[in-house]
Symmetry: C2
Subunit: 333 residues, 2 copies
């Protein structure tokens, strides 16, 4: 639906985490990206060539993807100058922001005049049912985090890639804009109306072969007071057979909540597992995924070994090490 290749728009991202949409696309579909475009003050870099609109156009880019998220998801006036120019130079736009491209009169008018498309992947395009809780066939794995933005999507994508490489039946099931932009399908869970959240997750992860695994993209955290309801709907709508605990060990406080400390991995396990067993009594915590991007190799290895010993579960950074041991843990279930 969205034409490739992409030019990734990083805007004036205040830090690297704010550009996680762009980073995810670049890491999982590098062949779909010709470059990045950054504004003055941008603190993010996803490791693609910096290009002007004209350079990207010459390199074949068809769609400018907004790869940066602001708190609240607003399209600023500064961004708009670039977006309008992009439409005028013949790019489509794609975005997962709450603030829809189509709701901006100037963008809508220029898109209309130039014949370019506006793709708002955050908008649900299905009338989801209310969850019915009926047990489904096939198996499902969900990553739950101590915080937001700790590597849950990466974990699911890496486990799916590993299973596919082994010739096993597997799908990654996106629940956010990055995943949807990467795979071309999924549910924009944080934009679904409250009553239908769990039902949308059931809809996404239907009955399947008994030896098939859905890797459901996690969202938020049970411990993040802004988004915990979304996480809960994933746990109950997803009926996971397996949970992966996800953590970023250098975080000083919960993301966006300076007075809230991160929970321990033990607290996450002891909170998430009983809740998951309401929907699937057979659910088990099978492994731990640590985002060690901010650590040296030695620090990371020491930390992973310490956690593995303490928690008694396979503990890896799937970005450094691949997800092989997590897939082994699923196979052992």
């Amino acid at each position: 639906m969205i034409q490739t290749p992409y030019l990734l728009f990083l805007g004036d991202a205040p830090d690297q985490l704010a550009a996680k949409v762009a980073q995810g696309i670049r890491d999982w579909r590098p062949g779909n990206c010709v470059g990045q475009i950054r504004m003055e003050g941008c603190k993010a870099d996803v490791g693609l060539p910096d290009m002007t609109l004209a350079e990207a156009k010459a390199a074949g880019a068809k769609t400018l993807v907004i790869g940066v998220a602001n708190r609240g998801g607003v399209i600023s006036a500064a961004w708009k100058k670039v977006l309008v120019m992009a439409l005028e130079e013949g790019f489509d736009l794609a975005s997962g922001l709450h603030n829809l491209l189509r709701d901006e009169p100037d963008l809508a008018a220029v898109a209309e005049a130039t014949g370019q498309a506006l793709h708002d992947v955050r908008v649900p395009e299905v009338e989801f049912p209310i969850a019915n809780g009926v047990k489904r066939s096939g198996r499902r794995c969900l990553a739950v985090g101590t915080d937001c933005s700790v590597g849950k999507m990466y974990t699911g994508l890496a486990m799916d890639a590993e299973m596919k490489a082994r010739g096993l039946k597997s799908n990654f099931r996106p629940t956010g804009q990055t995943g949807i932009l990467i795979t071309g399908n999924g549910i924009p869970l944080d934009a679904v109306v409250a009553d239908f959240m769990a039902g949308s997750v059931e809809w996404l992860t239907l009955d399947n072969d008994e030896d098939h695994w859905d890797h459901i993209e996690g969202q938020g955290s049970l411990f993040h007071v802004s988004y915990s309801g979304v996480t809960m709907a994933l746990i109950h709508g997803g009926q996971p057979d397996a949970l992966i605990l996800s953590h970023e060990p250098t975080r000083a406080h919960m993301r966006g909540l300076p007075t809230y400390d991160l929970p321990s991995l033990e607290a996450l396990r002891d909170t998430a597992l009983p809740l998951a067993r309401i929907a699937n009594p057979a659910c088990e915590v099978v492994g731990i995924s640590i985002n060690t991007a901010a650590m040296s190799e030695d620090e990371a290895m020491a930390y992973l070994a310490e956690v593995e010993k303490r928690m008694g579960l396979p503990t890896v950074d799937p970005f450094r090490q691949g997800a092989g041991r997590l897939v082994d843990a699923l196979a052992a279930l």
Copy 2:
């Protein structure tokens, strides 16, 4: 905004619970109701005189309120005949259903032609913020249930009424259509977009006097897989200082989920309190509210005494006994 008095429409409610909207209005604002109107096959009765549209009109009714909820909230063809006639006879319509009155072309056209108003109280009319988790002044009480429809709204309304009767500072804060229809304000939480659920609850329960209590209307249950995400947003957005456990002891299984058993009150306490303490470390479970409507007086009294002894908390049916002991428990905090 909605003109009173009301005629309460019970439709073809399959059971008494399906008419809980009408029952709530009738119990808490009896002076606003002239009667009820029921279709063939209706299994509910809220104890008001049965009236035709003409009789209700003659008795002064100005608005027909849809007091019945279908699973999924759909307006059936059979209902529509009555609703169209009501508009033609000069009633406004008010509804809290997901299926909006304004989205039905025939209702919209007849309302336009007759000059009558369509009130969809389920539609959020505010752009809610994302929750920021900042500690607020004033105090908040939230009822959490073992299941949906176990008496959480009644508990909040009864505690608010008792505090007002004692001259204490108190507000009932509705989070559902019945509460909004009763009080004229509140948030339709189950219709709020996922990312803004907790923020909408923060918006509803702002800073207040230190001796003021907000009684936040509970929704769903942490143990009900269809709606648990909504409950979680209430617990984290509401920052309750006090939790009331709510239960209906004759329920054979979770409402709408025939293969799911109800949790024990102990399991509810042990699940809800640690989650509430993420947002408010001082939170306490202060009492238990039991809906004994399906029990005899003797059975009810014996059951309440047994639970009170077992749980070590004041245990009442606020509908039979009033909420005095629950308010005492708040005062003792």
